[in-house]
């Protein structure tokens, strides 16, 4: 301690440097921490072994088109038949039909919903009951089947947990929800599912599902826009070898029914990559992480360099210590301890400055709300990183000096 005070002029600059570095480094560490946490949190659904069977309808100009008068069933009815055929295909575990509900689909819809006294706009889509089995959405107990069963009941609606938490007054199950399309009868909330995220770089948004009215599909109400609906299948893992080409080879004749034809079989992983690419968010995150790492590397080199030069400069002093009986090992550790003490002096005000930065709203609080845990973890990581830098910066030159004979080192004094 006395040492530090004696050389306070020199140490003042170092103290300022450590203060600035601690704040700057914390800022970068905080960003990387938030990004990492967001990426690692669960998506809410499981797209492994799932595929989208892309169907389309022939237009009047296409060869093979069956005009309306000669059609036996509506295109929608044909689609439901095709769904049954796909369900019977060996290896298929579950098939679902959805209108904009598939994970990683482009576009989204939101609508205002009223439950009890709370009215807010949430994202929604319409899906058939088996949707939950295909994508393994689970309720708060971990069961997908419970959601499917709840959905099969008349007039059901399923909401996400974060939506439910926004409604005060106990459990939301059994309550009635009303929207602009049906203000009298409403829908009964019969299931609560774990929140889902649109992509790995964002947080979950409140969501609810309506049942897709299959009778309306059969009646032909969706004819003309059936290609926008998603037919998704989950394939058993054992049967998931080269599924797209096998399906295309064996099922094309079965699926080309009436005016419907098979366009493509796409794995959800491909659709996920296309979606993430279209939002550009992954590239943005990668860029920021790259810039953050560049700055980190610079800071590393800067601090290591500073302490290296300091240690070199103090060769004479170390020679003196060796002559007076210090062991060689102690030389390095004295300097390291001195550095850490100086760091502690700088760290407390650095934490205050950091808190100010939080107060001024300069850090990202959208993805991960600011809390004590986040602050302490990031400050802790920052502290350890700077300590590591000090150790590296002191260790090598101290070892060099300790290898010299004391007489030689004294010469530098």
């Amino acid at each position: 301690m006395r040492l530090i005070w004696n050389q306070r002029r020199q140490n003042a600059w170092l103290w300022v440097e450590l203060l600035l570095v601690s704040v700057f480094l914390w800022f970068i560490v905080d960003y990387l921490y938030v990004t990492g946490c967001t990426y690692a949190s669960p998506m809410g659904f499981d797209i492994s072994h799932t595929y989208r069977i892309v169907m389309n309808e022939l237009s009047p100009k296409s060869p093979g088109f069956i005009p309306e008068e000669r059609q036996e069933h509506s295109n929608g009815q044909d689609l439901l038949t095709v769904l049954d055929r796909i369900r019977a295909y060996p290896g298929v575990e579950a098939v679902s039909l959805s209108d904009g509900g598939m994970p990683y689909t482009l576009g989204s819809r939101s609508r205002q919903l009223t439950v009890d006294t709370v009215t807010a706009a949430y994202y929604y889509t319409m899906v058939a009951p088996e949707f939950f089995e295909v994508f393994r959405l689970t309720d708060t107990e971990g069961s997908s089947a419970a959601l499917t069963d709840a959905f099969r009941q008349e007039g059901s609606m399923i909401v996400s947990r974060d939506l439910a938490e926004g409604i005060p007054g106990g459990t939301v199950l059994g309550k009635q929800a009303y929207d602009s399309s049906d203000t009298i009868r409403g829908w009964t909330i019969r299931g609560v599912f774990e929140p889902i995220r649109r992509h790995p770089y964002t947080r979950a948004g409140a969501y609810y599902y309506y049942p897709l009215r299959l009778e309306r599909v059969a009646a032909g109400e969706y004819d003309g826009s059936l290609s926008w609906m998603e037919v998704c299948v989950r394939v058993r893992p054992e049967a998931d070898t080269d599924f797209p080409s096998r399906f295309r080879k064996e099922m094309t004749t079965q699926v080309n029914l009436g005016n419907l034809y098979l366009m493509d079989v796409q794995p959800l992983s491909y659709l996920r990559d296309a979606f993430i690419q279209s939002t550009g968010v992954r590239n943005e995150v990668k860029t920021r992480v790259a810039v953050a790492c560049f700055l980190l590397a610079n800071i590393f080199l800067g601090i290591i360099g500073t302490f290296w030069i300091r240690t070199e400069y103090r060769k004479g002093e170390m020679g003196l210590r060796m002559a007076l009986g210090s062991s060689r090992r102690q030389l390095g550790s004295i300097m390291i301890r001195e550095g850490i003490l100086l760091l502690l002096f700088a760290f407390i005000p650095a934490m205050v400055v950091s808190l100010n930065i939080v107060y001024l709203d300069f850090i990202d609080t959208e993805l991960l709300p600011f809390g004590l845990g986040r602050f302490l973890v990031c400050q802790g990581i920052t502290f350890l990183l700077v300590v590591a830098m000090i150790v590296v910066g002191v260790w090598y030159p101290a070892r060099q000096t300790s290898r010299l004979e004391p007489a030689e080192a004294l010469r530098y004094e």
């Binding site: 690419q277 279209s278 550009g280 810039v291 560049f294 700055l295 590397a297 610079n298 080199l301 800067g302």
Partner: protein
């Protein structure tokens, strides 16, 4: 004098090779990162052939439909056909006005379905070919009369042509392909273009459906008021932008007066290139100056942080030269002259690091192009994201690299130069 400085700089580098290597690499990495950002900014904003002349082009991509009276928004949409026809096609001030629908993907096959290729497809009009100067290998573009009479003509890219027909020559013109199961006659073949020419890019171009243009407006269901068109307006010069916006607002007023309960609004569009890239929501006007300030801030930090490290390195490297500077001072050199010497010698090193950095940045852009240049507009890309040397060798990039080297040099050299020249003559001579 400069030759002397250069010789001294080289000698200094040779003296402590480790330090010199670290300095050069440090400078190179900083310049590399900065130039990567600059190159990406250039490519994304200035565009590549045939999508050049962006500085005299305006873009419209979104429209708001709201209720007259209380102004409640009924719909956020792209431009609808009837609106494009009545408000944009009638503009007199611009050089060219073209309308297109977003690039989608479609399956293109030969008539016997033996050869297939999934392609990027763009639906547009005849003015599109006047907007961008494509290189036609064979045939010619489709004409406005083809568009209006809904004749199925298509212009295809070279790669698609060779996949469908084998050769790429006049023989391809007049052949039929099936696009999404509908037959089209090939009217021309063009050289493939890079997705970086974002407004022009596609692999096959067909006329939009005239029925989309001629929709009847139904204010109840909003038919005819929502659509998926984008409008591109090329002016004779940027000075005409005001006049174009004025003419457009008059057309919009005229259009709105013909509606009873609805009205359309463009919220400040047509946008310039940078504004258009920033516009996400129909009714929030993009702020280009904020974006430019943010860029400037990031570049400043990327310059300052390495500069701090480099100045530390420079100081310790220059310690050995204090004696020499003391001698010069004794002979009457002013402080300014001494600082100038230090900065110039430092600049030689910075320039070396900068050249290395620029080469690294070119390599980075080539190797990492999917990450760096993959933007939202290029989502469903069937073609390769090609970056050619010609795109990267531009005078503007060299000048900017030089500018940043100079800036970095001053930032990293000023403190050491000041420190070293502020020493007492006697002290400096003593150190010798």
């Amino acid at each position: 004098m400069y030759r002397q400085y250069l010789k001294q700089a080289v000698a200094m580098l040779r003296e402590s090779p480790f330090f010199s290597l670290v300095t050069v690499l440090g400078t190179a990495s900083a310049i590399c990162l900065i130039m990567v950002m600059v190159i990406i900014f250039e490519l994304q904003n200035k565009g590549v052939a045939p999508d050049t002349d962006r500085d005299r082009t305006l873009y419209v991509k979104q429209m708001t439909v709201s209720r007259k009276g209380d102004g409640e928004v009924l719909c956020y949409t792209s431009v609808s056909g009837p609106v494009a026809k009545r408000c944009y096609a009638t503009l007199k001030v611009p050089e060219v006005v073209s309308v297109q629908q977003s690039c989608t993907q479609a399956l293109v096959t030969t008539t016997d379905q033996t050869r297939r290729m999934k392609c990027d497809l763009l639906r547009t009009d005849a003015a599109f070919w006047k907007l961008f100067s494509f290189q036609f290998v064979a045939g010619k573009p489709f004409a406005q009369s083809d568009v209006e009479s809904s004749l199925p003509r298509a212009v295809i890219g070279r790669r698609l042509a060779s996949r469908m027909f084998g050769e790429v020559d006049e023989g391809v013109v007049g052949q039929t392909v099936l696009i999404a199961r509908k037959p089209y006659i090939v009217s021309g073949v063009v050289e493939d273009i890079s997705p970086l020419a974002s407004h022009a890019y596609s692999q096959v171009w067909i006329p939009y459906a005239q029925s989309d243009m001629d929709q009847l407006i139904n204010e109840e269901s909003l038919d005819g008021l929502f659509g998926s068109f984008h409008v591109i307006i090329k002016a004779h010069s940027p000075a005409d932008f005001e006049a174009i916006k004025n003419e457009l607002s008059q057309q919009v007023k005229l259009f709105n007066s013909g509606l009873t309960s609805c009205m359309i609004d463009f919220s400040g569009q047509p946008d310039t290139q940078m504004e258009s890239r920033l516009r996400i929501y129909s009714d929030v006007n993009p702020d280009v100056s904020v974006m430019l300030w943010q860029y400037a801030l990031v570049l400043t930090i990327l310059l300052l942080v390495p500069a701090v490290n480099l100045s530390g390195l420079t100081t310790s490297r220059m310690q050995r030269r204090i004696g020499e500077l003391g001698v010069r001072k004794a002979f009457g050199a002013t402080r300014g002259a001494l600082m100038y010497q230090v900065l110039v010698e430092n600049f030689a090193v910075t320039l070396l690091g900068g050249a290395v950095g620029l080469l690294f940045s070119y390599a980075a852009v080539f190797l990492l192009k999917d990450w760096l240049l993959g933007a939202s507009a290029l989502s469903s890309v069937g073609g390769d994201l090609t970056v050619s040397i010609g795109m990267l060798i531009r005078p503007s990039i060299f000048l900017l690299a030089l500018f940043f080297c100079l800036l970095l040099n001053i930032l990293s050299g000023i403190v050491p130069a000041w420190q070293m020249t502020s020493q007492n003559i006697v002290d400096s001579l003593n150190e010798k």
